[in-house]
Structures are given as C-alpha cells and as structure tokens.
C-alpha cells in the first residue's frame, strides 16, 4: 500500500461510521445509505489522488460531498423519502438485556424519526454534527460558511423543533 492509499485508509476508518450515520439519518434506508456513502468515499478518493486538489480538512470535505449527494439523490429521484421511517430496521445496542434493548430501541427510533421530520435540513445537519458527532459550533460554522452565532441560534431552534415533534408524536 503506497503512502496515498495509507493516508486515505486512515481517513476512511475515521469517517466511515460518521458519514454513513449522517447519510442514513437523512435517507432512512440501509441500502440507499450504503449506496450514497460508497459514492461519497469514491469521490473523496478521486479528489484525494488528483494532483490539482488539496484536501485540507478531510472531514469537512467528506461531509460536504455527503450533503450534496443526498440532495442529488432526492432531486434525481424526485422524491422526499425512499422508504417509510416505520419500515426501517431497528437499532439495537448489543450490550443490554432484551427488555432494555426493546425500550432503548424504541426511544432511539422515536428520536431518529423526529430528526427526519425536521423541515429545515440545515437544522437537521447541525443537530447531527453537534450532538452525534461532537463537532464544535466553530467547526460547523466553518463547514456551513455561517457565523458561529447563527449556528448557535439554528442549533437552539432545531432542538426546540425536534422536541415539539417528539412531544406531538
């Protein structure tokens, strides 16, 4: 394995879960999520090899590709959702008892469905990045090319909307 492949291999290992999760929460289909994630890393690898491009922040770069890929997915297919959120597979933590698993899985699915119901997609992205991926507000602001204050407001509003959706469900 040459130096370039080794570098990208490390980036892949670091971001494959994050990118897959980010995509999965938006498309809510394992098959579609895998398909889009494949494209994201393939484009990332092509860009990484290109002598004309310089990838300074691989994470931001991959997230940006992922965002665009999801948008392209919905735009190209002329749809908003591929599979109903109710038809998606359950998420199970292997370290709990069967009863706990059932309760936990139910709670997580409620939150997941609520995220997907968020109308503002920027709010969706910010909540995922900040609470699931532990990304600082400053990094999100840089990624979205928005002031930090704006991101904080969006995060606050996103959480509020999310809570309302959950309470209404």
């Amino acid at each position: 394995m040459d130096n370039l492949s080794e570098q990208f291999s490390q980036i892949y290992d670091q971001y494959i879960d994050k990118i897959y999760r980010f995509v999965y929460l938006k498309v809510d289909s394992q098959e579609t999520a895998e398909d889009i994630t494949s494209k994201v890393f393939l484009r990332g690898w092509e860009a990484f090899q290109s002598p004309n491009s310089e990838v300074k922040n691989p994470g931001a770069f991959l997230y940006q590709i992922a965002r665009n890929a999801v948008v392209d997915h919905y735009r190209g297919k002329g749809r908003t959702k591929l599979v109903s959120v109710d038809a998606s597979p359950e998420i199970v933590d292997p370290g709990t008892t069967a009863q706990d698993k059932a309760i936990l899985s139910a709670d997580i699915n409620i939150v997941r469905k609520a995220i997907q119901k968020l109308e503002n997609k920027d709010h969706q992205d910010i909540i995922i990045w900040h609470y699931l991926e532990d990304m600082p507000v400053a990094s999100i602001a840089e990624l979205l090319n928005k002031p930090e204050g704006t991101v904080r407001v969006m995060l606050h509003r996103g959480l509020k909307d999310l809570r309302n959706i959950i309470q209404e469900s």
């Binding site: 892949y12 290992d13 494959i16 879960d17 895998e34 090899q49 199970v92 699931l132 809570r163 309470q167």
Partner: protein, 238 residues
C-alpha cells in the same frame, strides 16, 4: 417520551451514535475504493479561448498549413510572373491593375502617373523587341500609342515633366524594328515635348554652340522632324 427536557433529548440524540454500517460492507467498500487507482485523464486548467487561439490552432493544423502554403506560393509565383508579363500576354491586364493599385497606394496620380505608365510601356516595347517576341510586338506598340495619347491630351505640362517624357521618347527611338515616330499620336507627343523644351531653352542662357544647335532644332521643327529635334534638345541638356 411525551415529556422530554433538553438534557433527555440530547441524551437520546447521543444514543443515535449506535447507528453504524455493516462491518463486512465497510471493509469491502474500503478495499474496493483503494483498489481503484486514478484512471481519469487530468485535464489542463481551462482558459478563455481568444480569437488568436482559434486562428493559431487552425494555422497549425497540418492539412490547412499545407493548403495555405500552396496558395501562398501560387500567389507569390503569380505576382512574380505578372512583373514579366508583356502586352499581348494573358497576365498583362493583371500587371496593369497591379500598377494602378500601386499608384493608388503611393498616392501617384495625374500627369506624373501617366509619364510612369508611358515609360513602362516603352520599356515593355523595348524588352519585347530585344527578346524578339513578334507576337507581342503589335500589342506593345498599341500600348505605347495609348499611353502617348493620354500624355498628349494632358494640358498641364511643365519643363520637368516634358524632360521625363523626352527621356522616354529617346528610349522609344532606340527600340529597333519600330517606326513609331510616324505614328500621329507619337508625332504629336514629340511635337508637344519639343515645343515645350524649345520654350524652356529660350528662357535659359546658352553658349554660342548651344545657340547654334537651337537654330538647327528650330529648322528641324519647321520640317516636322520632331524626333530629330528632340535628339538635339537632349544633346543640349546633357
């Protein structure tokens, strides 16, 4: 989860970290991606295409370059031939147009240009006579007559232009095999030139020898021998 505070909500959100891709799929994808080496052709940075880029790209196309070279040499050769074209030749009208174009470009016109044309036609006639080109002789003589006619009809003649015409007539007189001195137009031209030169000579101070020659010239004019008179005028002017 109907009653949910912010901390509980954030806690629930963090549990979504458990969403992970299938391990076998992730490993397979990684190996597939890394196996794909860059095979795309890297294009050079694009730039604005200017008019000159299009022209130069066309110019450096082999076929076009060859065609251009053929046309270029053909035109060059044609212009070379035009210079040697004599009255009666196929290319002579082109030579005449080229002379007119050259005159237009240099701003020459009127009597000066007529004298140039007259001398050119005399030179053509001299060349035709020298080369012994019998077929061209008659057209060359006609051309000289036509040039002489346009000169004869021009009223604005001064001693300097008359000298130029006289010089041409001298060349004409030396061309063998032609008897243009008897041609009415040429004869009139001789007369105009000689009379003009005589008037000029009368205004200048002459030596005794020159005065004697002037008398001879006047006698020749009285006899209508203007060609001979011109020869003597040129002798005085030497």
């Amino acid at each position: 989860m109907t009653k949910l505070n912010q901390e509980q909500l954030i806690g629930s959100l963090k549990q979504l970290k458990e969403i992970k891709p299938r391990k076998e799929w992730a490993v397979l994808l990684k190996s597939q991606i890394l196996a794909k080496k860059e095979t795309k052709v890297v294009l050079a940075p694009t730039k604005e295409i200017s008019f000159m880029d299009v022209v130069s790209s066309l110019f450096f196309q082999k076929k076009l370059a060859y065609s251009f070279a053929v046309v270029f040499f053909f035109v060059l050769g044609a212009f070379g031939f035009i210079g040697y074209a004599m009255p009666g030749d196929l290319l002579f009208p082109v030579k005449r147009i080229a002379e007119q174009s050259q005159a237009a470009l240099t701003g020459s016109s009127g009597l000066g240009q007529d004298i140039v044309v007259f001398n050119n036609r005399i030179n053509d006639l001299a060349q035709v006579a020298k080369d012994g080109r019998k077929d061209n002789m008659s057209p060359a003589i006609n051309e000289v007559k036509a040039a002489a006619k346009s000169l004869k009809d021009d009223p604005t003649k001064n001693p300097r232009t008359l000298k130029d015409i006289a010089s041409g007539l001298k060349t004409l007189a030396d061309v063998p095999g032609t008897d243009l001195a008897t041609n009415p137009d040429i004869k009139d031209l001789y007369q105009t030139v000689v009379q003009g030169q005589l008037a000029d000579l009368h205004k200048t101070t002459l030596t005794d020898d020159q005065r004697n020659i002037l008398t001879e010239i006047e006698n020749l004019c009285d006899q209508g021998k203007y060609a001979d008179a011109l020869e003597k005028i040129l002798l005085i002017n030497k």
